[in-house]
């Protein structure tokens, strides 16, 4: 039999799996508006936010949901070489194999020649890693209206982004993902645990514990995952050493949260 603490710990592994997607009110509204704007013609969509605010999760979920009705292609790691980028798209989207180098003009030709009856959606994660030049070409590609790009990148300053020439004219839809609010954080933690049938540990999170966690992570999903992984690691260690009697188990102990924060480096002590 597996320990509930070990199970709960695994819930907070830092992975992006659409099955683990938790519906949060604010995020769902954004999600809906993104789905709507994908339907609109000639729109490049920019999704941005600080690291760990769930951009990758969002894109993954989107690609899964859209796949029923549309041709969707998700690239979660950027293809940095330009020729490689076109070749991959040519193969995935237009089913055209290319042996040698493929340059922009050639690829543009493929795009124009192939008459797809539906605009395919291309999701590019970690787009801050693409070069300015490639970004420029992506911009031109979306201008042909034959491809639609959704681009996710880390937030620098929004002003900075807008100032960047290649975002100035073509990106009409910008969507920002933010850290969660304390109330959302509680829902996030509990829903995540309940999805894995860890009802007992889910009920251990009262508002006091959640507020403590919020103070340490500022509602950042990745930091919260890290902290809770550490927390349940500590709980399961106490359990393994038969020392559970020495700590509270009806609710999450603040002391253990702090210990987890020290362990994961959120508090430096």
């Amino acid at each position: 039999m597996n320990s509930i603490f070990v199970n709960s710990k695994n819930v907070f592994l830092d992975t992006v799996n659409p099955k683990d997607y938790v519906q949060l009110d604010r995020v769902s509204t954004i999600y809906q508006s993104l789905k709507d704007s994908i339907k609109k013609p000639l729109k490049m969509i920019l999704l941005y936010g600080k690291p760990g605010t769930g951009k990758s999760m969002f894109l993954t979920k989107l690609s899964l949901d859209l796949a029923d009705t549309q041709n969707v292609f998700l690239y979660d790691t950027p293809i940095l070489d330009e020729s490689e980028f076109y070749k991959t798209l040519a193969q995935d989207v237009f089913e055209t194999k290319y042996a040698g180098e493929l340059n922009f003009t050639q690829f543009m030709k493929i795009v124009k020649d192939k008459n797809l009856n539906q605009v395919p959606v291309i999701l590019l994660d970690e787009a801050q890693l693409y070069s300015e030049e490639l970004m420029e070409k992506i911009r031109l590609l979306s201008d042909t209206r034959t491809l639609k790009f959704v681009i996710a990148l880390h937030k620098t300053e929004k002003e900075d982004l807008i100032a960047k020439e290649h975002f100035q004219t073509r990106i009409w839809e910008t969507i920002e993902l933010e850290n969660s609010l304390p109330t959302e954080l509680k829902i996030y933690i509990q829903k995540k645990l309940m999805k894995a049938n860890c009802f007992d540990t889910a009920s251990m999170f009262n508002s006091k514990a959640v507020n403590k966690i919020y103070k340490l992570t500022h509602g950042n999903y990745r930091d919260t995952n890290k902290l809770l992984y550490g927390l349940f690691e500590i709980y399961s260690t106490y359990e393994k050493n038969n020392q559970l009697y020495s700590i509270k188990t009806n609710q999450i102990s603040t002391k253990l949260i702090e210990m987890a924060a020290i362990h994961t480096g959120l508090i430096d002590a």
Partner: protein, 295 residues
């Protein structure tokens, strides 16, 4: 494997570390309180000291007339009177009593009336001094208490508001007085705003001298930040009149219009501007206004 014992140790260290500042504050408050209370008690003890002194003076007069033997008697009496005071106040008051007796020695004179007057004169200022000292210590005590700190900050806030009103003609409604749990923060904000008010005034005078559109643009932006959209609009307009090719000025102009509930005019203006400038930022703003993202 996680070493929980080691982790618990680190946690304990961390806890102690976080409690140190609290402990320091706590201890220093206690120290301050004890110092204050010592002062307070020493002041209340002063009145009996004076009383004993007047007795002493009278006794002295008698002494002048009477024999040496009796003087010894009196001195023992004196000791008895001052004994309880000494135990409470220690050296401090002792020094005072001795110096005071020396003073009175100088003013000794045969006339009884004259003596009384001096005594009265001596007493009055003494009472005054003690009472004022008491007040100040009370004040200090109050400052330690949270509630009165709040009151004081509110005072400052009001004052700064008054200042603003007198120094500036523009109607600025930034800080509404409202009961707040964080008066400290508020105070900081008002100071900042006062600074930017001064900034604006200074820049406006500079602008009046040289008509530099960069300055009026700055003023427009500042007013916009402060939420004074009317003035932001005015200065953006002035800037455009001098040079109608400054993108920022157009953007502020349009944004102010939206804020002033003239959305349609903002859209119209932006469209006009975009027509000849093809400004990307203006397009983005236009889109944001039209989609309702910018309100």
């Amino acid at each position: 494997m996680l070493n929980t014992r080691e982790l618990e140790k680190r946690w304990l260290k961390y806890k102690i570390k976080t409690y140190i500042p609290h402990a320091i504050i706590f201890v220093s408050i206690i120290v301050i309180m004890t110092i204050i209370s010592i002062f307070a008690t020493s002041n209340t003890e002063k009145t009996p000291v004076i009383a004993t002194k007047t007795e002493k003076h009278e006794k002295r007069k008698i002494v002048a007339i009477q024999s040496l033997q009796k003087e010894q008697n009196v001195s023992t009496q004196k000791e008895i009177v001052t004994a309880p005071v000494q135990t409470n106040i220690q050296q401090n008051t002792q020094v005072q009593t001795t110096t005071l007796t020396e003073d009175t020695k100088l003013t000794l004179s045969p006339s009884m009336n004259f003596m009384r007057r001096i005594q009265n004169e001596e007493q009055q200022p003494y009472y005054k001094v003690t009472s004022s000292v008491k007040k100040s210590t009370k004040k200090r005590k109050k400052v330690v208490q949270q509630a009165t700190v709040e009151e004081e900050y509110m005072d400052i806030e009001q004052k700064s508001q008054v200042k603003k009103k007198t120094t500036n003609k523009a109607p600025i409604t930034i800080v509404k007085k409202e009961p707040t749990s964080k008066p400290y923060k508020k105070q900081i904000i008002t100071i900042e705003r006062r600074d930017s008010q001064n900034d604006i005034k200074e820049i406006i005078t500079r602008f009046k001298k040289n008509n530099n559109p960069a300055l009026s643009l700055f003023v427009a932006k500042k007013y916009y930040e402060l939420g004074n959209y009317e003035q932001a609009y005015n200065y953006a307009l002035i800037t455009n009149a001098i040079n109608n090719d400054i993108e920022d000025s157009w953007l502020i102009f349009a944004k102010s219009l939206v804020k002033l509930n003239k959305r349609d005019m903002a859209i119209k203006t932006l469209k006009e501007y975009i027509k000849y400038s093809h400004s990307g930022n203006a397009k983005i703003l236009l889109n944001d206004i039209q989609s309702g993202k910018f309100k």
